[in-house]
């Protein structure tokens, strides 16, 4: 279990990479997270999360084709690895277990 620790932001990024399957690179990821979660994301935070998870083995990346857009610079597309998928599943399970463990009365009083 300990091996699959995911931060909240990391989890969001990882899920978004999966959502944007095949088209997940810096700009689309940032836009997707900002529009879905309605919060500002700095490129710095996003990129460091991406690289960190790549190092952990949750993500794979490869360069796309160079085009005339963006000054001829290539995009780096990210995909979720099997390990990343597993990490997500574990995190989801953990949460579900926690939810299930809440007694029914706990939220009624509030």
């Amino acid at each position: 279990m300990k091996d699959f620790q995911l931060g909240e932001f990391e989890e969001i990024v990882l899920l978004t990479v999966a959502i944007l399957f095949g088209d997940a690179y810096g700009v689309t990821l940032k836009a997707e997270i900002e529009s879905r979660l309605n919060r500002k994301v700095s490129i710095g935070a996003l990129q460091s999360a991406l690289r960190r998870m790549e190092e952990k083995g949750y993500l794979n990346s490869e360069f796309g084709e160079a085009t005339a857009m963006r000054g001829g610079k290539r995009k780096r597309f990210f995909t979720v690895t099997d390990l990343g998928k597993k990490a997500l599943a574990v995190s989801r399970d953990t949460r579900n277990q926690l939810w299930d463990a809440i007694p029914d009365v706990a939220f009624k009083i509030v």
Binding site: Y25, G26, K30, I43, A45, Q47, R70, G71, K73, R76
Partner: protein, 895 residues
């Protein structure tokens, strides 16, 4: 579509390439550029700042080259440590010098930050509206018969917006705002009197960006009788916990006169932000007013009560819309009754939304706007103060460091390179800056509430939320450290080794050098500010002492309520109090604006000739002249029996300026002549006689000239009642007024002001400017004096022996003082030569804003120079006197 011509900032890219891991660089930079091009459409500067900010935030452990982090720490780490230790020791050793430095620097920085916050806020007005760039306010100009501009209104007529939008496809959205004279709101049995309900077109949410808390823009105006609240009004109507109730769909009653209607709450918006040029608390669909106003909704001439905003298609030139004016008036009005084409009498001007706050000062502005001139003045002063603070540091540091020439000599002798010495002194200046900044920030934090209170702003100093500010502060810190540290560092590292070791003075204090220029600059700024202050104060005193031509003391001004119907009874009731002598009704009173203007024709002999100049009017009763103590120079006053609304003739009083404009230099000659005045289109246009002529008085402020005007004896549209009150009994008179008011209008509470307050309010902007300049001057003088103390101390130090020898040879105390002091005299002289013409240029522009103003006399020029001289003498006197009284043995016994 991407535009390949847009180049991202190269400096930022270089910075990124410097620290970012090479293998990541290409795609990250690509991502940045892709977004940059998108952002670029919203404005170059914004995109640029964003780019830099993002690059800075990419500086994170995971993304940087690991070796680069180590590079940032100087490689000669041990020397750096040594510099730090020496810096700390020296700062500690010369505590008073350090304190003077920190006080001077932090005061300057604090003033700069405050001004920067103020300017940032002034420039941010209305920026939050998504379509701000394509939104314009439609304003209408009245053109007089000579083709000249008569009045320029911030408002348009009711029929403009919809007709323009229907006729010209470039106008994609149009909305009006109409404040329907403060109706009462009722929920259940609770009544909220006089709420400002504003009616607007459906397009309002497409023109402006108003975020909704409850409901949304699409459904807000679906029903005609729906109303949108703001958070503030929701709290007022439904209490602090309105969020817990489901207030959407609740009904509120709106009552004004005979009109009663139930409105359904359809949404709650966030409160309109401070930095917006209008603030409303309720919005309701304008269609509701159509049955109320009937044909009036189609009016395209006059009746300027409808704030009108147009959103144009992307890229439309607003000038194009303005040129449709002729077609528009030809189509909807054609010729006036007097045969003049309507298009000659009106002009449109489209004001960009973003320029309204700083540039627009038209008739009837919805709120008082800022001023670009003030932004410039404050900006200039802010930069000058910062420079003065830096100069002060340079001066003090140079004098201070020159006591350490031996240290420099020793360092050089054992092989310190020039660069190492520069590094050392820069480290020290950075240290002082690092100490000053927290002090400056604390000062800012303490001073901000006062600034807010005073300027009527709600500025916040939150560095975490205000990214630009944080970035700016860091840049400022680095900049100030480098600027203020550079001169001492360069200067000291250049000293000759032998001289330094001998301990000779590094600087010949007698020589005219760069530092003298620095002090001259400081003097120039101080003198310039003192001069500006003297002129502003002079003008304010002139205003206070000038006779406006009417009485402004002990006059109570009370705004009337429409619930008070029987004016005569109300007035008599008020007058029953012994302390209330006289009372008069009027549509407008002095200190207001002469905004109402109708047509007029003057009968010189038998034929009526239309007047060619603007002749505005006010309505007043027979007690107006007596209450305000306005002198009648010819003819007679109104009598109570005259009543224009019922009689078939008009009763007119004119002022002397009007008599002159009509061709009568002697006011007696115009009395009894015939004048027709009123609105062509309704019953108000009446022939009558000029009963009397009043002395000229300043109805409007001293900013504008006394213009011709006419007083009509009227009994409608009386917006105010003014009373003369005897000085002793103000409290009981006020109580009587309130009591009487409540008897006549139990719902609204009376709103009263004293005339002299209203008079002062006309000059509020100038009053604020004057106080701000006062504060800045005090800061500049404070910084300057601190610098002087340091300078004099240094001069005396280096000429210690000289003073001793001079005394032995018989020099008097006075000659020693003048020896030290005369140098400052020269500096002040040069400072005057630089400062006076420059500030004269600025301030005469400000004075031109008044038609009635003081002339800048010799006294105003001499005063700041003398004040500076006296301040200098006082500042340096203690040290100089001490030096001149010294026993020569003391300074000559060594060696």
């Amino acid at each position: 579509m991407e535009d390949l011509n847009i180049q991202p900032p190269r400096g930022a890219n270089r910075l990124l390439a410097f620290f970012c891991k090479t293998e990541y660089l290409e795609d990250i930079q690509g991502d940045l550029e892709e977004e940059y091009i998108l952002k670029h459409q919203k404005g170059h500067l914004k995109a640029l700042l964003w780019y830099y900010w993002q690059v800075i935030r990419l500086f994170r452990p995971g993304l940087t080259k690991s070796s680069k982090i180590n590079h940032l720490i100087p490689t000669n780490g041990s020397m750096f440590r040594n510099h730090l230790i020496v810096a700390i020791r020296n700062l500690w050793k010369y505590k008073s010098g350090t304190a003077i430095n920190i006080i001077g620097l932090s005061t300057g920085i604090c003033a700069f930050i405050l001004i920067a916050l103020f300017i940032q806020d002034e420039l941010s007005y209305d920026q939050h509206h998504v379509h701000a760039d394509n939104t314009y306010r439609l304003t209408v100009k009245n053109i007089d018969k000579n083709g000249e501009l008569s009045r320029h209104w911030a408002f348009a007529s009711a029929g403009h917006a919809q007709r323009l939008k229907a006729d010209y496809p470039e106008i994609t959205h149009a909305t009006r705002f109409y404040a329907w004279a403060f109706p009462d709101i009722q929920i259940g049995d609770k009544v909220f009197p006089s709420e400002q309900v504003v009616f607007a077109d459906k397009d309002v949410f497409d023109v402006f960006t108003f975020p909704f808390i409850l409901g949304n823009a699409e459904s807000a105006f679906r029903e005609i009788k729906s109303i949108v609240l703001t958070e503030q009004s929701a709290i007022r109507l439904f209490g602090n916990d309105w969020r817990n109730d489901d207030i959407l769909g609740k009904t509120i009653q709106i009552t004004r006169d005979a009109t009663k209607a139930s409105f359904v709450v359809s949404g709650v918006m966030e409160d309109m932000p401070e930095n917006q040029h209008f603030h409303f608390e309720y919005l309701a669909p304008i269609e509701f007013l159509e049955p109320v106003f009937g044909e009036g909704m189609n009016n395209v001439t006059g009746n300027y009560n409808w704030l009108t905003y147009l959103r144009l298609q992307e890229g439309t030139d607003p000038r194009r819309i303005e040129q449709y004016k002729d077609d528009f008036f030809d189509k909807y009005v054609g010729l006036f009754e007097n045969g003049i084409p309507a298009k000659k009498a009106y002009d449109f001007e489209l004001q960009p939304l973003l320029s309204i706050h700083l540039n627009s000062h038209l008739e009837g502005e919805i709120e008082s706007n800022g001023s670009l001139q003030q932004v410039y003045i404050f900006g200039t002063v802010g930069i000058l103060l910062l420079v003065v603070a830096c100069i002060n540091y340079m001066n003090l540091a140079t004098s201070h460091f020159s006591r350490r020439t031996k240290e420099v000599g020793v360092r050089k002798a054992i092989g310190a390179q020039k660069s190492s010495l520069i590094q050392q002194f820069l480290t020290e200046s950075l240290m002082v800056n690092l100490l000053s900044f927290p002090v400056a920030i604390m000062l800012t934090w303490l001073a901000l509430p006062y600034l807010n209170d005073f300027m009527g702003k709600q500025l916040t100093f939150n560095m975490l939320e205000n990214g630009e500010l944080l970035l700016g502060l860091i840049l400022l810190l680095v900049m100030v450290a480098i600027i203020s540290g550079s001169y001492p560092a360069l200067f000291l590292s250049r000293i000759n080794l032998i001289q330094a070791l001998k301990g000779e003075a590094a600087i010949n204090s007698n020589k005219w050098n760069f530092r003298s220029w620095l002090i001259t600059f400081q003097y120039a700024v101080t003198i310039g500010l003192l001069f500006t202050l003297a002129v502003i104060e002079g003008q304010m005193k002139f205003i206070q002492n000038s006779d406006p031509g009417y009485r402004k003391d002990q006059i109570l001004h009370l705004s009337m309520s429409r619930n008070i119907r029987n004016l005569d009874v109300f007035k008599n009731e008020l007058l029953s109090h012994p302390a209330i002598h006289k009372a008069t009704y009027a549509s407008r009173v002095p200190t207001g604006r002469l905004a109402d203007n109708w047509n007029s024709a003057f009968f010189n002999d038998q034929t009526a000739v239309e007047t060619t100049f603007r002749l505005p009017f006010i309505l007043a009763d027979e007690d107006f002249l007596e209450t305000f103590e306005i002198e009648l120079v010819a003819g007679k006053n109104f009598t109570a029996a005259m009543e224009m609304s019922t009689d078939s003739v008009g009763y007119y009083l004119v002022n002397r300026a009007a008599a002159k404009a009509l061709g009568f230099d002697d006011p007696e000659d115009i009395v009894g002549r015939k004048l027709s005045y009123g609105n062509y289109d309704d019953h108000t246009y009446k022939a009558g006689r000029i009963l009397g002529v009043t002395e000229d008085f300043h109805f409007e402020s001293l900013h504008s000239e006394i213009t011709p005007m006419v007083i009509l004896k009227g009994d409608w549209n009386m917006r105010t009642i003014c009373m003369q009150i005897s000085p002793g009994d103000v409290q009981s008179a006020l109580a009587h007024v309130e009591e009487t008011w409540t008897k006549f209008d139990p719902i609204n509470s009376p709103e009263y002001q004293f005339m002299d307050d209203l008079f002062d309010q006309q000059y509020q902007a100038e009053e604020r400017l004057s106080t701000m300049i006062k504060v800045f001057t005090v800061i500049a003088v404070l910084i300057g004096c601190l610098g002087l103390i340091g300078m004099v101390g240094f001069i005396i130090d280096t000429r210690y022996k000289e003073i001793g020898i001079r005394k032995v040879l018989g020099a008097s105390v006075f000659s020693i003082i003048s020896m030290i002091g005369q140098r400052f005299l020269i500096l002040i002289g040069i400072g005057c030569l630089v400062a006076l013409p420059t500030s004269y240029f600025f301030i005469s522009g400000w004075l031109d804003g008044f038609v009635y103003h003081i002339n800048i006399g010799l006294l105003l020029v001499i005063l700041p120079a003398v004040a500076t001289l006296v301040l200098t003498l006082i500042t340096i006197s203690y040290q100089t006197l001490k030096a001149s009284l010294i026993n020569p043995v003391e300074c000559l016994k060594d060696e």
